[in-house]
Symmetry: C3
């Protein structure tokens, strides 16, 4: 059992507010690792703030912990790959990922693409990599990203594949939730780095009978420049047709060393016609 932590302090003007407020947070993460006699690695991780979520279900006090995917995950890995259970990403998200953004708080995760699978309930993710190729398969729960009324009995399946070289990465993800309005989602992502600049782009297209979603496409772009202690990012994203919003933002961080950074960002949600900014110090321990 090892411990790590993070914290932040600063100011924020969140989406949905005209006021600037103070913000601070501290968290601790538990990392549990072991190895069997046969050489399989196993372990788990969760945060102190997730530890007792289940305690809220008054009838379920005795169970608690990072249980049933509410937070954290448990894994076993070896030559066969890695099998994780709990609050894990869908295979599509694990392969494609999201474009970059820099904020101190970013409560709305506005740069993120919409994925169908991977909510906060029990999910399973299998990963296998060989050379430049990574393969991902998952079964899980419908994501809150995709619909505001997730069907908790749905178990969307997802596939992902990623090809990485030193110069670029391309990835493809497919999600299938046929028990939730015959919903399917295909997403591709690519990233490349040159001259200190990292470009990332995602494009996805979904079919769905859910009235509020009705299918459509999404894209997201980011450019991040890093030089010594400085990092700066701009992004533009549009997943409005999939229940998200059009948004753009710009942010920067300056590394003070020892795990502390000055971090600030500005974001504009064009769909909601609202903006957010934050500035402060982010810490890693």
């Amino acid at each position: 059992v090892t411990l790590s932590g993070d914290a932040r302090m600063g100011i924020v003007n969140p989406i949905g507010s005209d006021d600037v407020a103070f913000t601070s947070r501290a968290r601790v993460k538990f990392t549990l690792t072991g190895e069997t006699d046969g050489g399989l690695s196993f372990g788990a991780e969760f945060r102190a703030d997730n530890a007792s979520f289940d305690a809220i279900d008054a009838g379920d006090v005795g169970n608690g912990g990072a249980e049933d995917g509410v937070a954290g995950n448990v894994y076993i890995s070896g030559a066969f790959g890695k099998l994780s259970m709990g609050d894990v990403d869908s295979a599509a998200k694990a392969a494609v990922g999201n474009v970059d953004a820099i904020f101190l708080v970013n409560a709305t995760d506005m740069q993120e693409s919409t994925f169908i699978a991977g909510g906060t309930k029990e999910s399973v993710l299998y990963e296998y990599s060989t050379g430049s190729l990574g393969f991902y398969v998952s079964a899980g729960q419908i994501s809150n990203d995709f619909t505001n009324t997730p069907d908790v009995t749905a178990t969307p399946l997802a596939l992902g594949v990623k090809y990485s070289t030193d110069a670029f990465t391309v990835a493809l993800g497919y999600e299938d939730a046929d028990d939730v309005g015959n919903t399917t989602h295909l997403i591709v992502g690519a990233s490349t780095t040159f001259s200190g600049v990292t470009l990332k782009a995602n494009y996805g297209t979904a079919q769905s009978d859910i009235a509020a979603v009705d299918g459509g496409s999404q894209f997201a772009l980011s450019a991040t420049y890093t030089a010594d202690a400085l990092a700066a990012t701009v992004f533009y994203t549009d997943d409005e047709e999939l229940g998200g919003s059009k948004a753009y933002g710009i942010g920067a961080s300056y590394d003070l060393g020892g795990g502390a950074k000055v971090v600030g960002g500005y974001g504009k949600d064009k769909t909601a016609d609202d903006d957010t900014f934050d500035l402060g110090i982010a810490m890693e321990f």
Copy 2:
């Protein structure tokens, strides 16, 4: 302050469901120990998932922790014995214990005997051992095992005595909750190990004016075979007359080393006419 942890991942078909579901959990346990100048040991232990239970009482946020017996316990020990407070067992349960079962999840604890005392509120347990004899005295709260509407103001008393040799153990427990329907409970337990097989048996008889219980008897039996990395258990239990159920089960585990085990079990609740099975990996850190 030292840390340990446990985790599990696998599949489960729980009581009350016809579906097989994924299950995972990770927990961390805090163990606090100290010693006075006079040589008394003291300490406490609780789990991360129990740490903030009291936070749910919105008016009681500042207190929190493993408080007032909701979880964990605090103790002091020396030549006089050991005095523990918090979420401790009744003296009868501490002396007699339960028969064995092997499951990955076992949410219903179906092999467990019914004890009157020892709920999840503040209780006190005193233990003293000398040679082969152990004595137990406790005062605490009525258990959820015994009645679905526990009287939180009741403070059942309990006594226990255990005699252990290398070959066998016999134990006797008595619980008295005269402020809850004049309820009393006498329970005896025995266990013995030979040729790699451990047999355990409990028999209890209770008197009570509570209509739903009305007194009666209970018994539980288990046989566990261990050989190197393998362990296998069968059990049969009947505490139907005390508000529980008739049940039997079989389970096995195989130790992979390093703290990981493959574990699976099958259980049948005859009273509810429902069964459960689970299979997966249990981990200790």
Copy 3:
């Protein structure tokens, strides 16, 4: 990330009850520290029991942690002083503090003076010390001490200054919450130690348009005698005009070494005409 902990076990007759009850509690505290390349110190601290408070807001599960001042605090310090955010005291309380009391439990904090600022929501405290002088400035939220219906949008400001020598300490605090009934509060405190006795005294006077408070004055006195392992304290306090109560109490502790103490106290709330006592063992790990 370092861990420390505390625990207690004993008996208590709390305010509002005629019964003596068992009490126990165990807690763990996380302390996170770091240093930038430029020599600034930064860190955070919170307790395991505070870790997941935000999980109660079901819509806010992902955030959690010692967030937004609900518990714990985050700081950065250097030659410029120390800036803390989170669940911090008002500048007036940081400078003047409270008189002493010894209890095992002391759930009502009856010896404490009333301060306007410093609730359990996000606050900011800046501290700077030079030689014998310490300066404090804070902005935060109205305190629960002062009114039972705190205005969560209020952001009272506070100032404090403290002068300390080996022989005595004097401190002055001023709190201004003009957006809550034009409330202001001026408080002075002094302490001195001689012959093993520490005397502390606070006197404060407040103006307010809030009907329930209506302004008035408060005072608090304590005398603590320490000799080797023994400490004994008496206190008298009257903040009845500011929504508190007249109270007095006496308590003592005896250090057993290794972090354990026998602790007991008696307190009388004259306004409520009720008393409390407790006795037990307090532990530090």
